[in-house]
């Protein structure tokens, strides 16, 4: 370690070499895609549990006497899907140097995401069963809950993006932050469609 210290006395004068990128894809976007790959596998584990309970065990869905508020969930789905379009609007706006579109798009996306999450919490509170009431509630709460956690994370990212957008940190040349957060938000939306179809519709 002594040798290590001596070798770096001139540390402050050192600078990293000019980096060389061996791929056209930007590291942070590739990182986000790989992270989403990992997230898909996490959902995969939860869907495997769903498969075991519903297909292998043949649990009645929903198990009487419980009901699922399908219409409410459908409206909620529409809200979340719409938020994906406003997200896309925000991204195309920032690429065209249109700060109004960026801010409005991000704000609308955030508000719709928040509406979705609040509706889901309200649904939990009035649904009439709890986690300990058997296999059907277990899977219901865990799949929608896992997705809810992802909405929460997505909203946190959106909040930070919105703050930065209103402070004018993004423009046509610097919109990585919007793009990466946007990829995540689209993933959260697509996952909800899958959760909605398997838990509420099928």
């Amino acid at each position: 370690m002594v040798a290590h210290a001596e070798a770096h006395l001139d540390h402050h004068e050192e600078h990293p070499p000019v980096p060389h990128y061996s791929s056209r894809i930007s590291p942070s976007i590739l990182g986000m895609y790989l992270f989403i790959g990992s997230e898909i596998m996490l959902f995969g584990a939860f869907f495997t549990a769903y498969f075991f309970v519903r297909v292998v065990n043949g649990t009645p869905w929903p198990t009487p006497p419980f009901h699922l508020p399908v219409y409410l969930a459908f409206i909620n789905t529409c809200i979340l899907v719409t938020s994906s379009f406003t997200m896309h609007w925000a991204l195309t706006s920032v690429k065209r140097n249109n700060p109004f579109g960026l801010r409005a798009g991000l704000l609308l996306t955030f508000l719709m995401g928040l509406t979705f999450l609040i509706t889901q919490v309200a649904e939990y509170l009035r649904i009439g069963f709890n986690t300990g009431d058997g296999a059907f509630p277990t899977i219901f709460f865990c799949l929608t809950g896992l997705h809810g956690c992802h909405v929460f994370v997505g909203l946190t990212i959106l909040l930070f993006m919105t703050i930065r957008a209103f402070r004018g940190h993004f423009d046509a040349a610097h919109h990585h932050g919007v793009e990466i957060g946007g990829i995540y938000w689209h993933f959260v939306d697509l996952m909800w469609i899958l959760v909605f179809l398997t838990v509420y519709i099928l």
Binding site: H4, H15, P16, Y21, L30, A45, T138
Partner: protein, 647 residues
Amino acid sequence: MTAVTADHHVPTAPSQHGPFRRYVFGAGWIRAAWMFCLFGGIGFGLTVLARWGGGWHPILYTQPIVLLSLLVAAPIGFLAGLGTFDYWTYYALGHPTRAEDHSGHGARSWRDYFRVNTDHKVIGVQYLVTTVIFFLIGGMLAMLVRAELARPGTQFFDTQTYNGLFSVHASLMIFLFVIPAFAGLANFAVPLMLGAADMAFPRLNALSFWLLPIAGVMMVSSFFIPDGAFACGWTGYAPLCSSHQPLGAVFFNQGVQWAGASSIMTALNFLVTIITMRAPGMTFWRMPLLVWANFTTSLLVVIATPFIAGSQFFSMFDHVMHTAFFDPGNGGYALGYQHIFWFYSHPAVYIMMLPGFGIMSEVIAVFSRKPIFGYRLMALSLMAIVVLGFSVWAHHMFVSGMATWLRVPMMVTTLLIAIPTGIKIFSWLATIWNGKLHFNTPFLFALGFLSMFVIGGLSGVMLGAVPIDIHVSDTYFIVAHIHYVLFGGSVFTIFAGMYYWFPKMTGRMYSETLGKLHFWLTFVAFNCTFFPMHLIGVEGMPRRVADYAPRFAAWNMFISLSSFALGASVLVFLYNMITSWRHGEIAPSNPWRAMTLEWQVSSPPPTFNFTEIPQVVGGPYEYGVPGAVHAILTPSHATEVPAEVGV
């Protein structure tokens, strides 16, 4: 989150404030300590508030409170206090970014190893030192297990404590030693080998290291809570572990989450680094095999680790929230745990082996002075193992009562894995064949690995066959097999890698005499410890039981004594590492006359590895090939490279 570029920005310490404020509020251990308590308190408050609001009684219910405040919120506070989130928090709150001053990069004194450091070389050393500490704790637990097993009957521990000992032993060795030790070696070597200045995401790299001690401390500390540690084996089978275990089981569930998050982040970082940060000319077919090995391992980690996260979430929810994932009485599916768990944990076997294969390829080619035999097939067989590794999980479940039609397909795929593995073994042998062998310590460990891993691999092929597996399931034959592949395989490669890169990491040579002594002690004691387990296993001695039939007494006494010798051999390693690090001979930049890029810079390497990114012009293993060049570096770093690398 950007790569190592000149235009990324980091906040500097709040220097306008007085020294006291900086002491308490600046990133570091003081802030980590009070933020640990603060976040723990917040977690406690929120849990109690939610239970009160939801009308769940009792409000002060131990399990969810301990889980959320002590095992989730408090560690986040610790990380925040240490400063792992500083840049991101600063960015998230909308502050304008400042120019990167590289203040968090590199080590100038020993103190820099105890803070959040973004230098991949420092992180590599942090990983290795941390994992060796957990290796020692895990080894100590193993010797306690052997002390109990030295004679039939119960000597020192009651059965629950005994079960806790071997469970924590396995968890530490797997999640806190083998997997992260490989991550540490790769952290140090891979960016250098690629000709990059650092990993793609240095701050993420620092975060993923600091998650690790949290996981380890969580698992070890489960001994000190009421009712003791988790005691259902490292596999944590449900419903045993999800409903009939003390609070310690939750420590295991959550510890695995922290370790898993750490390894997913590292793997993601490796993948992005390898894809986007290669030096010009470094095509995929010119990458050293260590880089290939970590590329394939990282694919496995990113794809498979979420499944163990899932299995531990379900088990924990069954425990804390009374859900019914694995509770058959309430509509759950008990076998589901094993399917989900092994869908991760079989690929995890390769996560614990493929980086070792990479180390072996480096060491064997360098010390045989020959090009690696079958380079492309070596890389492709790694990919084949990745693909096949996902199709064999149920061979751990032949006796579990799962659908019988699953048995034969899983047996066939299991036996198929012997083909890519065999390709690698024979390619290494062909590399050694007719080479100019140099029996330095890394090469001795490589030879030890080759012979021991073949034994472990052969017993693996036996276990892959359904009838033999049914006969020896849950006996000491399994214990022997796993130790031959994980100790004789993985741990030997970790030792080889530590000795091989020791001069590069520390700038000093280790003692070759002590290294050889360490190897021979380990090799002999290892075989004396684990080989007899095959015999008593076939005769029917069950594993994971504190007591056994008197007819196994003689072998068990022998195994216990050998295991203490194996423990003692680690002391030689420790003594060698510590004294050599402090007083060893100064290492030249390329003591092994290796061609890969990390040996072409000084020992230890400069803070940013290269003054200019090198130009790669050829393969990495052209030893003995006249005029072969791997890369061209700027002159200031290439001074000490011997003219004729290929001798």
